[in-house]
Amino acid sequence: MPTLTYREALNEALSEEMERDDRVMLMGEEVAEYDGAYKVSKGLLKKFGPKRIIDTPISEAGFTGLAIGAAMYGLRPVVEFMTWSFSLVAYDQIINNAAQIRYMSGGQFSIPIVFRGSSGGGLQVGATHSHTPENWYANVPGLTVITPSFPDDAKGLLKAAIRSNNPVCFLENEKLYGYKDEVPEGDVLVEIGKAKVRREGSDITIVSNSGSTHRALNAAKQLEAEGISCEVIDLRTIKPLDFATIAESVAKTNRVLIVEENKPFAGWGAQVAYQVQRELFDDLDAPVHRVTSIDVPQPYNGRLEQAVLPNEERVIAAVKEVLA
């Protein structure tokens, strides 16, 4: 199996889907001549030309709305936000138009569109550039929210997202673009709405996504040396939430820790915790615990930012607290 970076896996997904369907096109800031701010679209302009790989002015509301209109008309646009932090300028278009037009029209229009780009903190770019907004979008009916953690899922889920007939928010993680791993060759799709057990274990279930999956896996490795066996679930899709996979794991471990980069108030983990206590109460041997970002704006200073983000030390401490 070939080894690709997360970035290269995304690039392959875009390239393969554009080859497959002429109605798929990519637009966003710097996606064409600059090859993408994070080089995800590298080489695509050369391959597909300026009709389908389109540099936009810095007008997120304008080009996002334009792409949604084009999707209403039958195109299948992929919109790149240089970072999801900039999607806030286009929030109205995503929420009021992409997510709700199908419902408001009584099902007359579908919006086959993918919004994608980098997200997450840890790069010392300050509060405006470090948002992790999967929970904001997951709160809106009509949107599908995907946050891949590994190159194979980045490719397989992006291909599936592009083939979906519904609006998808696809949040990549800025810190993972260079992460290398095996990716199956060819036209392999990953099912949307399906979590994956990335590490099997018996003492505790850690539910995580995106960069936090890597934090959880690193913590699990360290805890193994101390004789603690962690099962790590990578949600992959935030919404729809694959609760069945969580339930199956909790039936075995009877303990749950959630690790997410969202701020604590109404992060996606709050929803998971609610469902666990509501539906799996009898399985639990300890209260559900969460490690999240700290409830402050993202600081620039590296030491401060690392303390704000969920980190392995906090994950390890939380696991021990649940097992105590």
Partner: protein, 354 residues
């Protein structure tokens, strides 16, 4: 209302083809469409005061020549998208008045299955892309319709309407820049009825006329008298021709006036009864009626008969809406997601968030 100054067109070429002269029956049809909107809206007003229509209800009375005149120069497969004062546009596109009224009543027989309401009419079959509630939010969408029309090589065009209040929204300017930059076949139509809700244009918008906003994008611009349907048609035809033959956008400002409040909930304290009375003197339907009679296209009796017909249509729409069933509660969960045909369908149990 002065005739539009060709100089405001920013040097864009004038599309060469000419607006074809209308046959008498076509003129009568324009009159009929305007009067149908007027009678439909009167019926909606009545139903609102009877509390059969809830929420917001923005009436089109006074502005009829804009929707009828502009859409009359389109082909059937061109696209139309507008804001929340959308009843007129849907009716002119050919959406069944029964389905329009039923939507206002929130019934399952409505043009959006009772899920959209007054502000969110849609009719995909008639290329009517809504009915949008957020001021200016539909303008990037309309620009995208035109983008797709060009991308797919359709030779179709889009009319994207907004009120005068929308012209101060950032997204409108972003979209106009994109349309000019990428040469998209879209006609932006400002229906300038002089008030964004209760704020007069003098208190909301710097720069007069509003068509000057197009200058920054080197975009064609043209003004029309929204009380004169022939002027609306002539000017829109120029803009549509420019879009269709040269794939160039135009910003149109059509000066009009609404007779009733911003919505039915508006007491209208920001303008005088005298002002409204004075503006009603240049009523677009009366003006056109006088013209048709002068041109001896039709007799007064025939026009009165049309009035009876469209009044009966509006009454029938009211009756249809009133008698239509409420949506079943199960429909709450319908129309959220399009069926998937290229990937596995998301499991329905996952879609119901608890």
């Amino acid at each position: 209302m002065p005739a539009a100054d060709p100089a405001v067109k920013n040097g864009k070429t004038n599309a060469s083809s000419r607006l074809p002269n209308l046959q008498p029956q076509e003129k009568i049809n324009l009159f009929r469409q305007m009067l149908l909107i007027r009678r439909f809206e009167e019926k909606a007003k009545q139903a609102f005061t009877q509390t059969k229509i809830k929420g917001f209800c923005h009436l089109y009375n006074g502005q009829e020549a804009v929707a009828v005149g502009t859409i009359s120069v389109l082909n059937e497969d061109d696209a139309v998208i507008t804001a929340y004062r959308d009843h007129g546009h849907a009716l002119v596109r050919g959406t069944d008045p029964n389905a329009c009224m039923a939507e206002l009543f929130g019934k399952i027989t409505g043009c959006s299955r009772g899920k959209g309401g007054s502000m969110h009419f849609f009719d995909a079959k008639r290329h009517f892309y809504g009915g949008h509630g957020i001021v200016g939010g539909q303008i990037p969408l309309g620009t995208g319709l035109a983008f797709a029309q060009k991308y797919l090589g359709t030779n179709r065009v889009t009319l994207a309407y907004m009120g005068d209040g929308a012209i101060n929204q950032g997204g409108v300017h972003e979209a106009m820049n994109l349309a000019a930059l990428w040469k998209l076949p879209v006609v932006y139509i400002i229906e300038n009825n002089e008030y964004s809700m209760g704020t007069s244009i003098a208190r909301s918008s710097a720069g007069d006329p509003l068509t000057k906003r197009a200058g920054a994008f080197d975009m064609a611009a043209i003004q029309a008298n929204g009380m004169d349907i022939d002027d609306v048609r002539a000017k829109t035809f120029e803009a549509v021709s420019l879009a269709r033959t040269e794939s160039q956008p135009t910003l149109m400002e059509i000066r009009t006036y609404r007779y009733f409040g911003h919505s039915m909930s508006d007491p209208g304290n920001y303008r005088s009864k005298d002002e409204i009375e004075q503006r009603r003197q240049s009523d677009p339907i009366e003006l056109y009626k006088t013209r048709l009679l002068e041109q001896k296209v039709v007799t007064e009796e025939a026009l009165n008969a049309i009035d009876e017909e469209v009044s009966a249509q509006a009454q029938a729409a009211y009756d249809f809406a009133d008698q239509s069933p409420e949506p079943e509660l199960e429909t709450i969960y319908e129309d959220i997601f399009a069926p998937e045909d290229q990937i596995p369908e998301f499991r329905p149990d996952l879609r119901e968030q608890k």
